[in-house]
Point group: C2
Chain length 195, copies 2
DNA sequence: CGGCGATGTATCGCCGCGATACATCACACT
DNA sequence: AGTGTGATGTATCGCGGCGATACATCGCCG
């Protein structure tokens, strides 16, 4: 969700819409774009919800004819106290909502702001999610293989390999993450995962 | 687009909604799901547009109390003449709309119904699209590498590798496809000489 | 001195998704 | 005999995101 991404970015420094978008591209890259058609409405929604506030940066408008052209200059947004609170809350969530296709990348990109334990749980959740999908594809593939033409088959198998690659990647990440937490010992608190 | 997928599937045999959905999963696999929330409205739209028609399959409803529960039984859809025409038209399109993220998979899954020349052009188009993206990612990555935390960096690099892998896959496909057209000399593209 | 690409804010309609509702039927478990 | 569970089947609703588009300013290069 865009909301989380914006919260995460604004946590580092106040930004205006355009810059926010650049950062999103730089941060999420191939994973997700988030067009202006999503950004601006979301920004408004978040402002109305009280998570962010407009930080009137440039009062040096003046001169020309401000009244004629209406609002000039950039609109800089910054986190409010509630926004920070909300962000912290969202970052603790290691439930299914965090390992969905669309959301995982955002959570991952914000891992440096996330609790190490939560990180591992998200990575593991994401991995099981993908393992489920892998098994699903394998099953239907085995069942329908004969009926499929070569192109569909190739598509299926390519997709399957992509998922497998993804699982491998996650496994590596989990191991590295585990190493980190074992060398920096913390008290392991088992936590139930809500559905 | 769902429309094309439905057209392509119905070209082989008449199907009802549920079965159509199963086929979509089996055909597109990891690539795309297409929920009922898209399917049924699309079906209606297509029917209204005249591409498909309801092929009242089961008249053996009767007995119980048909009037009470309203419409019983499955609604089977089949291609109309216009539908076939429209499909043929869509399958000739090798323009940008065919190599977009969301559409490419559908086009690819329907390759067995597609003209060989169009196939190659779609594959090449898709590849350039991904090469562009790859260069874009490389550029922003080179520009911002220093500013990124390790997680964001890892996400970026993983994404980059995914794109690279995709490009390799497409290159292989293009080569195979080229071999096919040169070893099976169809309706004469005369000037190309094989070494 | 003219145009073009980057910066900047904003809206609109469409598409697809997930959740949800409801109904029937086969089969297994108890 | 009763129960429940999973597959088959049709359908709707709200919402989040996308691509296209509009419009305005600024700085730089030719």
């Amino acid at each position: 969700m865009l909301e989380l991404a914006v919260l995460g970015l604004l946590h580092e420094s106040p930004l205006h819409g355009y810059e926010l978008r650049q950062r999103l591209k730089a941060t999420l890259g191939t994973f997700r774009a988030f067009s202006y058609g999503s950004l601006y409405p979301t920004l408004r929604r978040m402002r109305d919800a009280g998570w962010i506030a407009e930080d009137e940066g440039d009062a040096e408008v003046v001169a020309g004819a401000p009244a004629l052209t209406g609002r000039r200059g950039k609109v800089v947004y910054k986190l409010t106290a509630e926004g920070k609170e909300h962000l912290a809350e969202l970052l603790t969530d290691a439930g299914p909502s965090a390992w969905e296709d669309e959301t995982f990348g955002v959570h991952f990109a914000l891992f440096s702001q996330t609790d190490p334990e939560v990180r591992v749980r998200i990575l593991e959740g994401r991995r099981s999610r993908l393992e489920e999908r892998r098994e699903g594809v394998r099953a239907t593939l085995a069942r329908t293989r004969a009926r499929l033409d070569s192109y569909t088959l190739q598509l299926q198998e390519h997709g399957l390999e992509s998922v497998e690659r993804e699982v491998r990647w996650l496994t590596e990440l989990i191991e590295t993450e585990r190493l980190k937490t074992t060398t920096t010992p913390r008290k392991a608190v088992p936590h139930s995962v809500r559905p």
